[in-house]
C-alpha cells in the first residue's frame, strides 16, 4: 500500500530536518530499499554493538523529551524499567495522534515507517523488550497498512523478529488499530484499548505504565516522533543532538502550525530556536493580508491560549545566575518547554493554532468545548458532566441565548474539573475555558449580555 505522493516544501533556513530529512528528499518512498539507501538501519547496527544501559544513558544525555504532549524526559522514563526483573516488558508506540492542531506523526507513519521501526527496535533493545506494539488511530487506516508492510519488509531483512542481525536479540512488532477515540492517546487508556477493553484511563497511582502497564507488566509508552528521535541520537551522538536544543529540551521539535497564517504546515526546528513571532511571521509567512494577530494556542488544543498583545512577567536566570524579573511580549515567547511553561501555557504537542482578528473567541472556545464534550470518555464525573455542560453553555451563547452569569458559571465549572479527574483530560478540557475567559473576558461578557 502506498500513500499519495507527498512533496515537502524546501526547508526554511531556520529549520533543521532530522526526522523529516528523508521525507524531504524528492522521490523518497516508504520502501525498505529507499530507507536503506538513505542510511537506514545503520543506527540499529550501531546500537546492537552497545550495551543497553549505554543507549539509555545516551538518551538521557540527549535531553530528549516526549513529543506527545506531556514532555516527560525520555531517558528517565526508560530507566524506570528494570532490565533484568524477569518480567516481560513492552514498548507501545502511541500513534493515536489526535490532539487538534497536531499533524506530524501521521507523515512519519505514512511516508517513513522504517524510521519508526528502526527507532523502536533500538528502544526495545535498550529496555530488554521483546514485544512492541504500534498503536495507530482508527482514522489512519492507510498508515496501519503501510506500517504493517514495513514491519514485514524489516522482518525479511532481519531487522525485526528473531535474532536481529545475528545479535541474539529478538523483537516482534505488531500494529494495533484504535476504534476512534481521542482518549486513547492517554497512555493508560491506550493500554486498556490495546488489551481489548473500553479505553478508560487507569488511576495513577498505582497504574503507572512503567510499573503496571500493558497486561500489568512494565511498559514504556512513547510518541511516534519520540521513538524516531532515538535513532538520530545514536547517529549524531547525544552531545551533538542535545546541543541543537535548549538545556533540558534537546533535539528538534516538529511544530505544527495551523489556522490563520499564510503558510500553515509543520516545521522541524531545533527546540527553542525560534520565538512565536519568528514562527508565525518569518517561517509561516505571517497572517493573511490585512489581518491582525489575535490569539495563539501554542501546544495543541488543550494548551492555554495566549493573547496577542499580552506581556508576561516571568522570572529568568540572569547572567550572574540569579533569577531576575523580565517582561516578555507574546511574540517574543521562545518556543520551548521552559518558556511556554513560564508564561502559563505549554509546548505540549507543539501544535500551534493561530487566530487572527476575524475570530470570535466565544466561537473558538465553543469549537474546542464541543470537541472535548464529544471526546470525554465518561469515566469520571467532573469531566463527563462538566465538558458537555461547558459546551452547552458556549453553544447557547453563540445561538444568542447568552445569560449574564454564563462567564462565571463557565469559569466555575472548569475549576471544578481541572485537578479532580482520573486523567489529564480534565485539565485538557478545562484549560481552554479557563484561559479564554481569563484572556478575553470582554468578549464573553459581551456575548453573555446579548439578548
Amino acid at each position: 500500500m502506498t500513500a499519495q505522493p507527498f512533496v515537502m516544501p524546501p526547508p526554511h533556513p531556520k529549520e533543521r530536518r532530522i526526522i523529516f530529512e528523508n521525507i524531504s528528499q524528492p522521490g523518497y518512498d516508504p520502501s525498505i530499499d529507499t530507507f536503506i539507501k538513505h542510511g537506514g538501519y545503520e543506527s540499529l547496527k550501531k546500537a546492537l554493538t552497545m550495551k543497553p544501559v549505554e543507549i539509555i544513558d545516551a538518551v538521557k544525555a540527549s535531553n530528549l523529551r516526549g513529543r506527545g504532549g506531556a514532555g516527560f524526559p525520555c531517558g528517565v522514563k526508560w530507566s524506570f524499567i528494570k532490565h533484568d526483573d524477569g518480567k516481560p516488558h513492552y514498548i507501545v508506540v502511541n500513534g493515536d495522534e489526535s490532539e487538534p492542531g497536531t499533524f506530524k506523526d501521521r507523515y512519519i507513519l505514512h511516508y517513513d515507517p522504517h524510521q519508526l521501526i528502526e527507532g523502536l527496535v533500538i528502544s526495545a533493545y535498550a529496555t530488554n523488550t521483546h514485544l512492541s506494539y504500534i498503536y495507530i488511530r482508527c482514522e489512519f487506516p492507510e498508515a496501519a497498512g503501510i506500517v504493517w508492510n514495513a514491519i514485514e519488509e524489516a522482518k525479511a531483512r532481519g531487522f525485526v523478529g528473531k535474532n536481529i542481525l545475528g545479535s541474539g536479540f529478538d523483537c516482534d512488532i505488531y500494529v494495533h488499530q484504535g476504534a476512534g477515540a481521542y482518549i486513547c492517546g492517554e497512555e493508560t487508556s491506550l493500554l486498556e484499548s490495546l488489551e481489548g477493553k473500553r479505553p478508560y484511563p487507569r488511576i495513577k497511582p498505582p497504574y503507572f505504565p512503567a510499573v503496571l502497564g500493558l497486561y500489568m507488566k512494565p511498559t514504556i509508552v512513547n510518541n511516534v516522533e519520540t521513538i524516531c528521535h532515538v535513532k538520530h541520537i545514536l547517529r549524531l551522538g547525544p552531545e551533538e543532538y542535545a546541543k541543537m536544543g535548549t538545556p533540558g529540551d534537546g533535539g528538534t521539535r516538529t511544530m505544527c502550525v495551523s489556522g490563520d497564517v499564510v503558510k500553515p504546515g509543520f516545521y522541524e526546528l531545533p527546540a527553542g530556536a525560534v520565538t512565536l513571532g519568528e514562527l508565525i511571521f518569518d517561517i509561516c509567512g505571517g497572517l493573511k493580508p490585512g489581518r491582525k494577530l489575535k490569539a495563539v494556542i501554542p501546544g495543541g488544543s488543550s494548551a492555554k491560549v495566549l493573547r496577542a498583545e499580552e506581556i508576561f512577567k516571568v522570572k529568568v536566570k540572569g547572567a550572574d545566575g540569579q533569577m531576575v524579573d523580565k517582561e516578555i511580549k507574546m511574540l517574543d515567547v521562545v518556543m520551548d518547554a521552559a518558556t511556554l511553561g513560564s508564561v502559563g501555557s505549554m509546548i505540549g504537542s507543539a501544535g500551534v493554532i493561530v487566530m487572527d482578528d476575524t475570530r470570535e473567541m466565544v466561537w473558538a472556545l465553543n469549537n474546542l468545548n464541543q470537541f472535548y464534550a464529544h471526546e470525554s470518555c465518561g469515566q469520571c464525573t467532573p469531566c463527563r458532566e462538566g465538558s458537555l455542560w461547558m459546551s452547552k453553555i458556549t453553544t447557547r451563547m453563540l445561538d444568542g441565548g447568552g445569560q449574564g452569569a454564563d462567564p462565571k458559571t463557565l469559569q466555575n465549572v472548569a475549576d471544578n474539573i481541572a485537578g479532580r479527574t482520573v486523567c489529564a483530560f480534565g485539565e485538557a478540557c478545562a484549560w481552554p475555558t479557563q484561559s479564554f475567559l481569563a484572556k478575553f473576558p470582554e468578549e464573553f461578557e459581551a456575548v453573555a449580555a446579548e439578548k
Binding site: 470518555c377 467532573p382 458537555l388 475549576d415
Partner: protein, 545 residues
C-alpha cells in the same frame, strides 16, 4: 486477634489532625471511616475494586515533609509535619502510607464535593417522587449533606433509555444512573458473569447489558442493593412500598445451609422485600435471587390460620386442639413416630426431642435435602439447620424405617412437624392408614389435608430462635411479622404439647427454651440468645476455646 493480624505492620496516619494507626494495605477511605470521619462516596464499595470514577471521595492528602537526608521534619509536638498536596486525591483508591495526613472536611474538600454533586445532578431526571430508591438514595442524601442547594443548570438534560428490561428481575433507568460502575464490577468480580457494561461516551455514557445477553444471574438483585441511586430496581419490589415505611428486621435466610444474613423489610405485617445483611463470616454483602424472592408464600392468603381436629367443627380453639393432639399422641405407645424438620429452629428441635421422649418414642428423624450447590452462597444442603438437627440428635437416618412402619401399619401415630410427609417417602394412601396424624404446618399440603389434628404454626419470618449453618455458626432468627389468624410459634405449640402429655415444664419464653437447650448441650454451653448477637457465633471456635 489472629496471628496474621500481628504480622501486618501498623502505619501512622493523621486523620483531621489526630494521629491513628492502621494496618498496611488499608484504603485511605477506610482509615477515615474507622476514625469516625465519614467520607461520602458512590463508586467505592468495600467488597469491590476501586475504580475511582465518581470523585466524591476526594480528600486533601499530605505526606511527611522530609529533610534533605530523607528524615521526617518534626513539628513542635514531636510528630511529623505534613506537606499538603495542592491536588485533592481520591481516598478510595489511595493506600495509606507511613506518616500520611488526610483532611476530610477542609474548604477544598467541601468545594470538590459540591462540584461533584452538582455534576451528578445536572443530567439527573430528579424523578424522586416516583423513584423506588427515594429514601435510601445516596444522591438524595449527599445532596442534602454536601450539595449546593440550588441549580445553575439551564440547559437541556441528556436523554437516555428508561425502563430497560435488562433481566428477568431487573429494570434499568439509564437517566438515573450515575455511572459508578458498581453493578458492572459486581457482575465481574463477584457474580463472575460479566454481562453489564457501558456504551457511548462522555455524558451520553449508558449502562447496558451485552447484546443478546440478559442480566439473569441468580445474584442479579445484589446489583439493585449496591446501586447507590434508582437506576437498577427490582421488578419484585418496584412500586410496592416507599422504603421509609419499611421496618427492617435482622434475621437469616432459611433457604439453604449457608444461613445468609438478611434484612426483612415489612410494613403493617406484610413482607415487602428481603435484602442481604453484611456478615463477612457468612455471606459478605450478598444473597442469591431465588432465596431473596422466596418470601411471598409467607404473605399468602392460603396460610393455615386455625387449629382443626377431625370430626369437630372448625375452627377449634387452641386448648382443645392441644388436648386432642396430646390424647392422640399418647394413645399408641410404642407405635408412635415423629418427623421433624431441619428447617425448624434449635429451640423447636430441642422441644420436639423432649416431646418424643415424653411420649416414649425413639423413632424420629428429619428430612434431609441434599441439593446441587452453586459453589458460592447456595449450599449443598437445602435445609438451613441440619447442623442443629445433628447436634440435638434429631437426624437419625431412620426416615425410611418410619415410612416403612407407616406403610406396614406398625406405626399408628405420626407427628409431623413442618414437613410434607409425602416428601419423606410416605404415600398419601399410607397416611390414610394412620390412626392419628398430628401435623404442624403453615400452608395446606397433602399431609395437612390428612391431619387428624392440625396445628397452624409460624413461618420463619414470624419466629425467634436459632439455627446452625453448615459451617457450624449459630445464628438468630427474628420476628418480622406476626403469624396470621390463630397460628402460633412452633415452640409454643411444642411446649403446650409437652405440658399436656407430661405436665408443667417451666418454660414461658423463648429465652428459657434456649437456656435449657444450652444447659443440656455442651456445644452451646455459656451461650444465650443475647450473646449470639446479630452476626452469630462460630460454635467450633467456642468449643476449642
Amino acid at each position: 486477634m489472629s496471628a496474621t493480624a500481628t504480622e501486618v505492620p501498623m502505619l501512622h496516619v493523621q486523620v483531621d489532625g489526630e494521629w491513628k494507626q492502621f494496618p498496611k494495605g488499608t484504603r485511605l477511605i477506610e482509615a477515615c471511616m474507622k476514625s469516625g470521619q465519614f467520607v461520602p462516596h458512590y463508586c467505592y464499595h468495600p467488597k469491590l475494586s476501586s475504580p475511582g470514577n465518581c470523585r466524591m471521595c476526594l480528600v486533601e492528602m499530605g505526606m511527611p515533609k522530609m529533610t534533605p537526608d530523607r528524615k521526617p521534619v518534626l513539628g513542635e509536638d514531636g510528630k511529623p509535619e505534613i506537606g499538603w498536596s495542592p491536588r485533592p486525591v481520591i481516598s478510595c483508591a489511595t493506600e495509606i502510607s507511613e506518616g500520611m495526613g488526610v483532611r476530610t472536611s477542609s474548604p477544598l474538600v467541601e468545594e470538590c464535593r459540591k462540584g461533584v454533586m452538582e455534576f451528578l445532578l445536572i443530567n439527573h431526571p430528579l424523578d424522586c417522587p416516583i423513584c423506588d430508591q427515594a429514601g435510601e438514595c445516596r444522591l438524595q442524601e449527599f445532596s442534602v449533606e454536601y450539595g449546593k442547594g440550588e441549580s445553575r443548570f439551564v440547559e437541556e438534560k441528556v436523554k437516555k433509555p428508561k425502563r430497560q428490561d435488562i433481566g428477568p428481575r431487573i429494570v434499568l433507568d439509564d437517566e438515573r444512573c450515575i455511572m459508578c460502575s458498581r453493578c458492572i464490577r459486581f457482575m465481574q468480580e463477584v457474580a463472575k458473569d460479566d454481562v453489564l457494561g457501558f456504551v457511548n461516551r462522555g455524558s451520553h455514557t449508558t449502562l447496558t447489558v451485552y447484546p443478546g445477553k440478559s442480566l439473569d444471574s441468580n445474584y442479579s438483585l445484589n446489583t439493585v442493593d449496591i446501586c447507590p441511586v434508582g437506576a437498577l430496581t427490582s421488578k419484585d419490589f418496584r412500586f410496592s412500598m416507599r422504603v421509609w415505611f419499611l421496618r427492617e428486621t435482622k434475621t437469616i435466610d432459611v433457604n439453604c445451609g449457608t444461613g445468609a444474613n438478611i434484612l426483612i423489610g415489612s410494613r403493617e405485617n406484610v413482607i415487602h422485600r428481603i435484602t442481604p445483611r453484611e456478615n463477612d463470616f457468612v455471606n459478605s454483602c450478598w444473597i442469591p435471587d431465588n432465596h431473596r424472592l422466596n418470601f411471598h408464600y409467607v404473605n399468602s392468603a392460603e396460610r393455615l390460620k386455625d387449629p382443626a381436629v377431625r370430626g369437630e367443627e372448625s375452627p377449634v380453639k387452641w386448648p382443645r386442639a392441644i388436648q386432642a393432639a396430646a390424647d392422640q399422641l399418647r394413645k399408641n405407645p410404642g407405635a408412635t413416630a415423629l418427623i421433624a424438620s431441619a428447617r425448624l429452629t434449635n429451640e423447636e428441635l430441642f422441644l420436639a426431642k423432649r416431646l418424643a421422649s415424653a411420649l416414649g418414642s425413639e423413632l424420629f428423624d428429619v428430612l434431609p435435602r441434599p441439593q446441587k450447590g452453586d459453589g458460592f452462597l447456595i449450599s449443598q444442603d437445602g435445609n438451613p439447620n441440619t447442623s442443629g438437627a445433628k447436634l440435638l440428635g434429631l437426624a437419625t437416618g431412620r426416615l425410611a424405617e418410619i415410612a416403612a412402619g407407616v406403610s406396614t401399619g406398625k406405626i399408628k401415630t405420626l407427628l409431623v412437624l413442618g414437613e410434607e410427609a409425602t416428601d419423606c417417602g410416605i404415600s398419601a394412601a399410607d397416611l390414610e392408614k394412620l390412626d392419628s396424624l398430628v401435623v404442624t404446618g403453615i400452608l395446606p399440603d397433602q399431609t395437612t389435608a390428612r391431619a387428624t389434628v392440625l396445628l397452624p404454626a409460624a413461618s420463619w419470618a414470624e419466629k425467634r430462635g436459632t439455627m446452625i449453618n453448615i459451617k457450624g455458626r449459630i445464628q438468630r432468627l427474628n420476628r418480622a411479622v406476626s403469624s396470621p389468624g390463630q397460628a402460633r410459634d412452633d415452640w409454643e405449640i411444642l411446649r403446650d404439647l409437652i405440658q399436656a402429655v407430661g405436665g408443667s415444664n417451666g418454660i414461658y419464653t423463648i429465652e428459657e427454651v434456649f437456656k435449657q437447650l444450652a444447659a443440656e448441650t455442651p456445644a452451646l454451653a455459656g451461650l444465650s440468645l443475647g450473646k449470639i448477637g446479630d452476626l452469630g457465633v462460630d460454635l467450633k471456635m467456642t468449643k476449642s476455646e
